[in-house]
């Protein structure tokens, strides 16, 4: 494990900061990979009442191991309900029962629109990415969309190559008139800092820098000049308890936290 001088890794910082954004939430739609460990950490810290929903058709999962895939059998055993995917998307997500959901992508723009479809031209792309999966409808129906992504100039871009999942439009009046449960991400957590979205413009705004990270580093790792909160602060580092849960209970093999 490559810890820094303070004794934790970049991933541990990103996961802990992201888990805190779930404080008080009740129903969370979980994605595979980092969101999975984030949600499980939140359930053990800031959101003990959190019900984990998996698009594979599981409500109230209690995974006994960290699943590699989003349809692991451990999600079923001991869960509250197993549903068909039609029911999960229609009755739970589209009907507004999901409070929070995690999304990521190959590209995000300053308004939180996400691309998980192609890099390059659609007809003959440079890189063919997985596509929407449930992301397009999650972006529309989850009451809070939380983004977790590593930051780089090729992923934080001025212009998306394809808009798979809608974020803010840049016109808050338009966003309010959409009538969706959500209407754009509420937070973005990266390996460098945390962002919110400006209420008047819908623009991604840097709120905190992780300990040891500079504003210069943030600027070098995105494709536009970011809006910075006047009250720019420092992200609290992972607590001993967060680190203990991550290392001893959730990811003893160090798959996600290393």
């Amino acid at each position: 494990m490559s810890s820094n001088a303070d004794g934790y890794t970049k991933n541990e910082m990103m996961i802990s900061a992201s888990a805190r954004t779930l404080a008080g939430e009740r129903v969370c739609f979980v994605g595979v990979g980092l969101p999975n460990i984030v949600c499980n950490l939140a359930q053990r810290t800031v959101a003990p009442q959190l019900q984990l929903v998996y698009e594979a058709g599981v409500f109230g999962a209690r995974p006994a191991r960290l699943p590699l895939s989003i349809g692991d059998p451990t999600l079923v055993s001991g869960s509250t309900a197993v549903t068909s995917m039609f029911e999960l998307f229609a009755f739970y997500l589209q009907a507004g029962l999901v409070d929070a959901a995690f999304l990521g992508g190959a590209q995000i723009d300053r308004f939180g629109n996400l691309n998980t479809t192609v890099i390059g031209d659609y007809a003959q792309p440079k890189v063919r990415l997985p596509g929407s999966g449930g992301a397009c409808e999650i972006a529309i129906h989850a009451r809070k969309v939380l983004v977790i992504m590593r930051q780089a100039p090729r992923s934080f871009v001025e212009k998306l190559h394809f808009r798979t999942s809608p974020g803010h439009s840049g016109d808050p009046e338009h966003d309010r008139a959409r009538g969706w449960f959500g209407s754009g991400p509420t937070s973005v957590v990266t390996d460098l800092g945390t962002y919110g979205f400006d209420e008047d413009t819908g623009e991604m705004t840097l709120l905190t820098l992780h300990p040891g990270v500079t504003l210069q580093q943030v600027r070098e790792n995105m494709g536009w000049d970011p809006k910075v909160s006047p009250g720019l602060g420092e992200t609290p580092p992972p607590s001993e308890e967060e680190l203990r849960i991550l290392r001893e209970e959730l990811d003893p093999g160090g798959v996600y936290i290393s």
């Binding site: 594979a56 699943p67 995917m85 589209q94 063919r128």
Partner: protein
């Protein structure tokens, strides 16, 4: 009437060149055994439909059975890419692959419309997304009641749907537990249905627990018993997902020559899935065997 068949006969009779074929199952119960038999019988020009084209479709597309893919998420879950598919799409190597893509809910509702004999299905997805701009089948429409804008998707009626199940009777009454995916919708939507199962059970077993029946024999054309037929996918309570296989697939699929030799060794040179099971070795199956976690029992009541 018994519909029991060998995999070879079921595929030979029910899957034809040019068909639209859906092998469904969301992570769980993906029938690799059927995919391999389709490869062995060298079907061509198939349109493959699946919410999540997974390693099984990477194998089939790498083997050249398909000309088109209908899907909503394309990848090796938790691992990365499907390289056979990417080569076809990005470099047209060895030829282009036509894509028709939806979101997950859009695909589920296509099957639901097919199953319910509806002309389309309305959903609240695709708003302000670029997906409809690359798929003219996704069309905006206003509700005749309150004017709400929805998008509609057309029914998907596969020529053949193949589902794997824990157990079925020889008539095709099929019981599944664990993740249900969209198998019920995909089966009812199809012209022909092949059920592959871990165990063939007497009718009495099904009648004792009718709530667990997902697909009735009335829509099923053939029943094939093929233990471990989902590997490296899994069957809840029977064997675990072989995550190591999914991780290793990245290296197999990346290089066309490695892929070809994998297909030769594990598909073309074997006569059946039983030979695959034997070749994989008893130790592997032992490693994948889960512990026991039984459900409780309910009282359906005796009303005689």
């Amino acid at each position: 009437m018994s519909k029991l068949a060998t995999m070879r006969d079921a595929i030979a009779e029910l899957v034809r060149d040019g068909d639209t074929v859906a092998i469904e199952g969301f992570t769980h119960l993906i029938c690799f055994a059927a995919g391999h038999e389709i490869i062995r019988q060298r079907r061509r020009d198939l349109t493959l439909a699946r919410m999540t084209p997974d390693v099984v479709y990477d194998q089939m597309i790498g083997a050249g059975v398909a000309r088109k893919l209908i899907f909503s998420w394309l990848g090796n879950p938790g691992v990365g890419h499907l390289h056979s598919v990417r080569r076809r799409v990005e470099r047209h190597d060895p030829g282009p692959l036509e894509l028709e893509e939806y979101s997950h809910f859009g695909m589920v509702c296509r099957y639901a419309a097919g199953a319910a004999n509806l002309p389309f299905f309305p959903i609240r997805s695709y708003y302000e997304s670029d997906i409809p701009s690359v798929n003219p089948n996704i069309v905006p429409m206003r509700s005749p009641y309150d004017g709400t804008e929805v998008y509609v998707v057309p029914p998907l009626r596969p020529d053949v749907t193949i589902v794997h199940a824990q157990r079925a009777t020889e008539d095709g009454d099929t019981q599944i537990w664990g993740l249900l995916g969209c198998q019920k919708e995909a089966a009812f939507a199809a012209e022909r249905v092949i059920v592959v199962c871990e165990e063939v059970v007497p009718e009495e077993v099904v009648r004792r627990d009718p709530n667990r029946t997902v697909i009735p024999g009335i829509v099923v054309d053939a029943v094939v018993q093929e233990p471990f037929g989902c590997h490296p996918s899994y069957a809840q309570g029977y064997y675990d997902r072989d995550n190591a296989f999914y991780l290793e697939w990245e290296n197999v699929s990346k290089d066309p020559e490695t892929l070809d030799s994998w297909l030769k060794e594990w598909v073309y040179d074997l006569g059946s899935h039983a030979e695959y099971v034997e070749k994989m070795g008893a130790e592997r199956w032992e490693e994948l065997r889960p512990g026991e976690r039984l459900s409780g029992q309910v009282n359906y009541g005796d009303y005689s």
